[in-house]
């Protein structure tokens, strides 16, 4: 009888830690389930430029706002939108050209955050070519990453500002190694991004003339875009997502050195610490503008966006008029 009681007691004692473990597991499961999953469809692989999105495991900006962050890579802004529209992601990190093109085809989308209000594109030429203004591009061979890239769209913007069109130049698809054909003299100029130019210079590009597209039309480079249905149904989650993104961006601006260090571990192209730091500083600079200084990070400049729509329509990227105030919403933006 005593033996039986002792056995029962021992069994009960066994149960205590077991119950404690299962209780804490259920509490953990509940707290984990409270996180809202948000998947970002990127335009690129996990590269240094987006370090603030890659350091979630280290810094937990999104988790702190109740968001479980996911990232799916892409090959361009069009890819990001396709992944958004197919339901693989909740938010697309995409460029205005892809956004307007998708709207033009009848997709129901909404831009909710201006990630880079500065136009980061440029056209680079060797000094010997003496290309100093857009009009000098007439009759020249100009390299672009691909026919569906932002480099081509922004080259079109630049040409349009000078009253030229693509038919006035010869487009050459150069791929991502776009400065090699320029150095070899296979093209007269090449369209690139600010980070591309930075890396090109570090790889020995030499003396070049640079025409920055933002001096002609400062159209934003990337937005966060969501499906209209997501915008209508998940406003509260999207607000938290944008707040978390702003937190991560503010951190990257305040601690670029730490971000560069983490990029070594988290970014697929982050082997070079010094280059990471330069790239991060460029992206920090392109995240602010006079509009964001007045209204806070993520705020849109609707006037320049509307000018962008008109330019895209003029050179045939889109066929119909788009009123930007109908497809851009600023009500989810974090307080300045």
């Amino acid at each position: 009888m005593m033996k039986q009681k002792r056995r029962n007691l021992l069994q009960a004692l066994w149960l205590v830690p077991l119950m404690a473990v299962s209780f804490s597991a259920s509490v953990w499961a509940q707290s984990a389930s409270k996180l809202d999953k948000m998947v970002v469809a990127g335009w690129s692989k996990p590269i240094t430029e987006i370090t603030n999105l890659l350091v979630e495991e280290d810094k937990g900006f999104f988790k702190a706002r109740g968001i479980e962050l996911g990232y799916v890579p892409g090959a361009g802004g069009g890819d990001a939108l396709r992944n958004l529209l197919s339901g693989q992601a909740d938010v697309a990190f995409t460029d205005p050209g892809s956004f307007f093109a998708a709207l033009d085809k009848g997709e129901k989308l909404r831009a909710i955050y201006d990630i880079y209000p500065q136009n980061v594109f440029n056209v680079v030429s060797l000094k010997s070519q003496n290309i100093r203004q857009p009009a000098d591009l007439k009759g020249k061979r100009i390299g672009v990453y691909s026919l569906s890239s932002g480099t081509r769209q922004n080259l079109q913007v630049l040409l349009h500002q000078a009253g030229l069109s693509e038919s006035d130049v010869t487009l050459v698809v150069t791929g991502l190694l776009n400065f090699a054909p320029l150095m070899q003299g296979q093209v007269d100029a090449t369209a690139a991004t600010d980070t591309g130019l930075l890396i090109g210079r570090q790889r020995g590009l030499g003396d070049v003339n640079v025409m920055e597209v933002r001096n002609h039309l400062n159209l934003s480079s990337d937005f966060f875009v969501v499906r209209e249905e997501t915008y209508q149904r998940r406003k509260e989650v999207l607000k938290r997502f944008l707040q978390a993104y702003k937190d991560s961006m503010t951190w990257m601006m305040r601690s670029p050195e730490e971000a560069a260090q983490l990029a070594v571990k988290r970014a697929i192209d982050g082997q070079n610490l010094a280059m990471n730091l330069d790239i991060i500083k460029l992206r920090n600079a392109s995240s602010v503008s006079t509009t964001t200084q007045a209204k806070g990070l993520g705020a849109f400049d609707l006037v320049s966006l509307q000018k962008g729509v008109q330019a895209y329509k003029a050179f045939g990227l889109i066929q119909r008029d788009i009123a930007v105030q109908d497809v851009v919403s600023q009500d989810l933006l974090p307080a300045p």
Binding site: A75, R82, G200, I268, D269
Partner: protein
Amino acid sequence: MQRSGWLSLVLGLLILVAWELAATGLKLSTLVLPPPSLVMAALRQGFASGYLGPHVLQTLLEVVLGFGLGSLLGFLGGVALGEWPGARRVLMPYLVVSQVVPKLALAPLLIVWLGFGATPTVVITALICFFPLLENTLTAMQHVDPQRLELFRMLRASRWQTIWRLKVPDGKPAILAGLRVAVVLAWVGAVVGEFIGASRGLGALIIAAQGSMDTPLMFAVLVVITVLGWASYQAMVVLERSLLK
């Protein structure tokens, strides 16, 4: 090593020396053509820092899964189409079309259909490996020694027995040749698949290296792919020798 092996090695070394001299002598930018010494330095640093390891493992996993799946389906398909001429006439045009369609163009859609991660790359690899096995197995099934086939008929062997005791053993050289081709193509499939929708793997690394204009790293990755592809081909040669003894 045989004389031809030595000659091959010397030729390779001469090419590397000429490449080194051309790249340094002509003062070419490393963006345009890095010398082999710089490529080797990038390779050494990549492995020493642990940067390349996870990417190699990811691609290796996709190659093994894609090659295994594609080869198995190709072999079974080849046996089935070899046995049933009616099915062959109906299905063959579609199978050829499935191979003609460029996989790179389909890759973004495969990601949309199958989701992110290794799955789309494994499927692309399997699609590429499938055809050489199918074609070679089908050829093997159709070219059996008529006299031995007649013997099996006289002995009242079942269809199953004829396939597994006569057609497949007799067709081993052709089937194994298909495997040799498939294992090389598997590397192409996996790397191309990773170009589009992967965050990890040697294909993803090539795109990242191009984006950061790190040509020595890009060449280093190409060296890794070449060595692994060659090693897997040699493994198939060894397998073939042991099975055909």
